[in-house]
């Protein structure tokens, strides 16, 4: 289920990037994309009743143990996502100071006139 939702979210984000002309919305769509991927990774090897892979001595024989790798990967991915969003927003702010608009097309037109 989680994986299907992840796919839907991913393509909603793609739709947002294609159809919305607002730069802020593009950044938000990018955030949605990021969360879709995180959801997918965490759902990939999910098992019900799995226990965290801690305290190995105390886990009863036969208990399912959760796969720790996706979590480690996704922590990295979240950190990258945060920094990327920060860089994107910073660049957007200075773009906004230059052109005074949040619209991709208007920015492109003003950029062309500048030459």
């Amino acid at each position: 289920m989680g994986m299907i939702i992840a796919f839907i979210l991913f393509f909603i984000a793609i739709y947002g990037l294609i159809a919305r002309r607002n730069i802020i919305k593009a950044i938000i769509a990018f955030g949605i994309m990021e969360s879709a991927i995180i959801l997918y990774f965490l759902g990939a090897h999910h098992e019900r009743n799995a226990v965290p892979p801690l305290l190995l001595g105390q886990i009863a024989e036969g208990t399912a143990i959760a796969d720790p790798l996706p979590q480690a990967l996704m922590i990295t991915s979240i950190v990258i996502g945060v920094s990327v969003t920060a860089v994107g927003l910073t660049m957007f702010i200075s773009l906004y100071y230059h052109y005074g608009t949040t619209n991709w097309l208007k920015v492109a037109i003003k950029r062309k006139e500048e030459k």
Binding site: F10, A26, E34, I80, V87, M91, L95, Y99, A108, K112
Partner: protein, 535 residues
């Protein structure tokens, strides 16, 4: 002295942090010393790989599949030498400029470490992380001089590459779900034993979409000229981006398609796409009048040529493409550096306003001429030998030599146009060139020439493959080359200005939404192609 592979990543980054403490214009000797040391270590690594085969190293002492692994085969050992060679030259070239401050040098040296890491990495998630970090650094370097136009170019570059990286990461996620590993060597084994190839179409299409944007293949290259040709990027940044950074995408593409080798066979579509990219690239290059944009679009064309060579599947074409990659790195960075000097001297980027380079700066003109000869594949220059290898590797395909001829003709026409900077103009005064800049462009020009003269020896030394060229071959090639030059010159002189198509193409510019749309269409097309013809 052979060092562990991770030092090639860590040393530049550590040194970058260290050099942040030194005043940039004073520390040149130290930086150069460090670069030479690193180059020496890279040569040692190459000799070790050549003698004892591929080096595989797992960090942290964990078993394979748990720890991060680094791998250096012949190709990546050679590419690391190339990266360090180019960065050394670039640092020497521009150390006196005002914008080379603490931050610039920090970012630049970190980028060196990251590019080395991309060539060494043997783990898909690691590749994703490196791609993201280097994308951020490159986008900061692009807007470094803070001209107002460049901020738009930078933001387009950043966003389109981030979305490509997201596609890549989603593809990795699906692979991880099936196999539970992300290490390339282990993944290759697991994929070859996988019994349900159609399930791999979706991750493959996603990963390839991401990598195709990264390496600027046919419909997805519109970010590249913005990033490589933007007015504000210092010429050494453009040179590194066009010379070596774009090749990371190609290199990862090779590694990823090796994973799926035998399960998903898509060699043919990449041959077609490579050829299309090469042709479309030079048509776009031909229609531009901005010297940096001509060079940037030309990179697209050459990437197509390399993609073509890498997908042909024969040994000659494969290593020929890698040899071409090295050559292209050398002459394209020379061209970007000389273009940077021209822009500074003439205060314009318009090709038609730049004349009399021979009178103004003979050395720059000489380097430009040598690189033009290299890129158009004049006999005895390096481009000719690598194109020859690719051509020999593709002879089993019908009309392949015609295709190569067309691509080469396109290259020649666009550089006949470019070479109008060398036209005579006696009103120009001689302007002296700085000592460090002349050393760098002369070194690069000499490498362009020597790489062609000793092409067969070098390619057998680097990759263990060579195709001897005899004097009679040279004569034939010389004849063909002169004839093509004549045809191209006539075409440019008499027909080019009458074709209105070029003016229309000059106006084409995709907006951000359209870039993402083309990426999405590419992904869907790839997926449906795989469903219909793959497996």
């Amino acid at each position: 002295m052979v060092i562990d592979l991770f030092w090639f990543v860590l040393l530049p980054i550590l040194f970058a942090v260290f050099s942040y403490l030194i005043y940039p214009k004073k520390g040149l000797i130290l930086v150069l010393f460090f670069q030479f040391l690193l180059f020496y270590l890279a040569v040692c690594n190459f000799l070790e790989v050549k003698a004892n085969g591929t080096r595989l190293e797992i960090l942290g002492g964990y078993p394979q599949g748990i720890g991060i692994s680094l791998k250096s085969d012949l190709v990546s050992a050679v590419l690391i030498m190339l990266v360090i060679f180019l960065f050394t030259n670039m640092i020497l070239f521009n150390y006196h400029k005002d914008y080379v401050n603490y931050l610039f040098r920090l970012l630049y040296l970190i980028l060196e470490g990251l590019i080395c890491a991309l060539f060494l990495s043997n783990d898909l998630f690691n590749i994703f992380v490196l791609v993201e970090v280097s994308t951020i650094i490159v986008s900061i370097l692009i807007i470094f001089k803070k001209y107002s136009q460049s901020i738009y170019d930078g933001i387009i570059y950043l966003f389109s590459n981030l979305i490509a990286a997201s596609f890549f990461l989603f593809g990795i996620g699906i692979l991880y779900r099936y196999f539970g590993v992300l290490d390339i060597s282990l993944l290759t084994e697991a994929v070859s034993r996988f019994d349900n190839p159609p399930a791999l179409f979706l991750p493959f299409a996603m990963i390839i979409t991401g990598l195709s944007l990264k390496s600027a293949v046919m419909p997805l290259f519109s970010w590249l000229p913005k990033a490589h040709g933007t007015p504000s990027a210092p010429s050494i940044v453009s040179a590194i981006l066009s010379g070596i950074y774009i090749k990371c995408g190609l290199f990862i593409f090779v590694r990823v398609s090796a994973i799926f080798h035998g399960v998903i066979d898509v060699g043919q579509i990449f041959i077609v796409m490579g050829a299309l990219t090469a042709v479309v690239g030079f048509i776009f290059a031909l229609s531009q009048t901005d010297i940096k944009l001509i060079l940037a679009y030309h990179t697209v064309s050459q990437v197509g040529l390399m993609m073509l060579g890498l997908s042909l599947g024969t040994e000659y074409a494969y290593y020929g493409a890698f040899y071409h990659l090295i050559n292209h790195a050398v002459f394209k960075s020379t061209l970007f550096l000389t273009a940077g000097i021209m822009i500074e001297e003439y205060h314009t980027r318009n090709l038609y306003e730049i004349k009399g380079l021979w009178q103004k700066q003979p050395l720059v003109a000489l380097a430009t001429l040598v690189s033009i000869l290299g890129i158009t594949g004049a006999p005895l220059f390096n481009g000719s030998y690598s194109k020859y290898l690719i051509e020999k590797g593709g002879l089993h395909l019908p009309f392949f030599d015609v295709l190569m001829l067309i691509i080469n003709l396109g290259t020649i026409v666009s550089f006949v146009k470019y070479s109008s900077v060398l036209k005579k103009d006696n009103s120009q005064q001689r302007v002296p060139l700085r000592f460090n800049q002349s050393i760098v462009i002369l070194t690069l020009a000499a490498v362009t020439f020597l790489g062609g003269l000793f092409g067969p020896y070098l390619s057998s030394f680097f990759f263990g493959i060579s195709k001897p060229i005899y004097a009679s071959d040279y004569l034939i090639k010389l004849g063909v080359y002169l004839l093509s030059i004549a045809v191209c010159y006539l075409f440019y002189r008499f027909f080019y200005h009458k074709i209105a198509l070029f003016k229309k193409i000059r106006q084409i510019e995709l907006s951000f939404n359209e870039i993402v749309l083309s990426m999405f269409i590419f992904f869907c097309g790839m997926y449906f192609y795989l469903i219909v013809f793959g497996g």
